[in-house]
Symmetry: C2
Subunit: 257 residues, 2 copies
């Protein structure tokens, strides 16, 4: 079966979508077949990969609420090997709609159950900035959670709450849920705050924190306006180099397990 990774952190603006898009692109460069599932009603991952809002006739909402199969909901992106299930704004009502369903936190997992390694090597799920039913669905369906951590003060504050939620999902619905890793994002080595956050993270979380740090890099934030990952937009940029290093580290960890 594919390896399923939920990219989540309820703190907003920490680089979840940017990591989902660029890690997916870096895995595809390494000959992996990747599916990106956009679970955020904002639809930033969908836009960042060039699937505009008027092209999202089949979406994550359909998979969760209308029993559409993953195979029917998938869109091709401009990148060979990278497929996407886009998000629409009606996903924001899925939270309240799902609350009434019996199997409300299992919907995504059930949709993934027919899938095999032949379909995809990796499924990445971009989560909204909240610990709501959409994020819980992603954690229940996933093998592991990748946590982007912005190198800023407020970012550390939410981490313990997130770890509690992961433990709760592990105890109630998904006993195998692991932490893939914590990823330092928007890192600026000239700035004390970034260094402080890295020190705190490595002291408290140890090996869980990826060695790879993603630097703050303007080319990263420009790339979605051209509907492409930074790896395509500016292949030699610091951002592209860092996301390739992350893919390599992730694949090495997977082999070691």
């Amino acid at each position: 079966a594919p390896r399923i990774i939920a990219i989540t952190n309820q703190k907003g603006g920490v680089g979840k979508t940017t990591t989902a898009i660029n890690l997916a692109a870096a895995l595809v460069e390494r000959e992996c077949k990747v599916l990106l599932v956009d679970m955020d009603p904002q639809g930033n991952a969908s836009t960042g990969l060039g699937i505009m809002s008027d092209q999202r006739d089949r979406s994550t909402y359909d998979v969760l609420m209308n029993d559409m199969s993953v195979a029917d909901a998938v869109h091709q992106t401009d990148l060979d090997g990278l497929s996407l299930i886009p998000a629409t704004t009606d996903l924001s009502s899925a939270d309240i709609d799902l609350a009434k369903a019996v199997d409300r936190s299992q919907k995504l997992r059930k949709a993934f159950s027919p899938l095999s390694q032949k379909d995809w090597d990796y499924i990445l799920i971009d989560c909204p900035p909240s610990l709501n039913l959409l994020t819980v669905n992603a954690m229940v369906a996933a093998n592991s959670v990748l946590i982007p951590l912005q190198s800023e003060f407020f970012a550390l504050e939410g981490l313990s709450q997130l770890m509690l939620s992961i433990r709760e999902v592990r105890q109630t619905a998904n006993p195998d849920l692991r932490i893939e890793g914590v990823l330092l994002t928007m890192f600026d080595k000239r700035n004390n705050l970034s260094q402080q956050v890295e020190e705190d993270a490595r002291d408290n979380l140890g090996e869980i924190v990826f060695q790879t740090r993603i630097p703050r890099n303007i080319r990263v934030s420009e790339s979605p306006s051209y509907s492409m990952p930074v790896l395509t937009y500016d292949t030699a940029s610091q951002g592209a180099v860092a996301y390739r290093a992350l893919a390599k580290e992730l694949l090495n960890r997977a082999e070691a397990v």
Copy 2:
């Protein structure tokens, strides 16, 4: 009655909390009495003003779910004239708990109804990164909405969705809800992306966009780790100067109306 402003944008990490804390501090400098209500389960505004999680025995959750009065829930901060109702993590379940209540979107407005100008001149509400029942409660209780807009590509994408939600609240629950303004945050004048976002925002939204832009300024992101607004942490910083200019512009607009 106090003027009530909800600071909201479902896009994460755009500067809602930073604006709530520093605009509150700048209004206090101008002799206004201000109450800041933290509606985000992350509790960043509470931490940023020095009310740590073990001191939040009375909180926004109590006001919404346990009929605690605003007067009983208020904490003093280190700043004379600035009071706070802190947020706790159980607020994240308030969303699902509130869904069952009859008057689920009116809870905060009812809690504010006994308040008068003698209590506060301004009430600022820091919202979570989502269009959930907590944010709807804030919009129903508010006179106006202030929208921080990060000067980045993904930021513009969510704006139309937010405007639709504001219109919906105006039509169903709060006919007087106005837009206080759209505030450009983390603005970097050396960077094309920032200039592009400013141009797009002023072209599409005109006068709604504040003249004041908040620059990206490291002192702003350092100040919450010292539990103080940037106005106190580094009074001469570009961030402090910009938030004072914002308070002045806001007060001028209020007089003009």
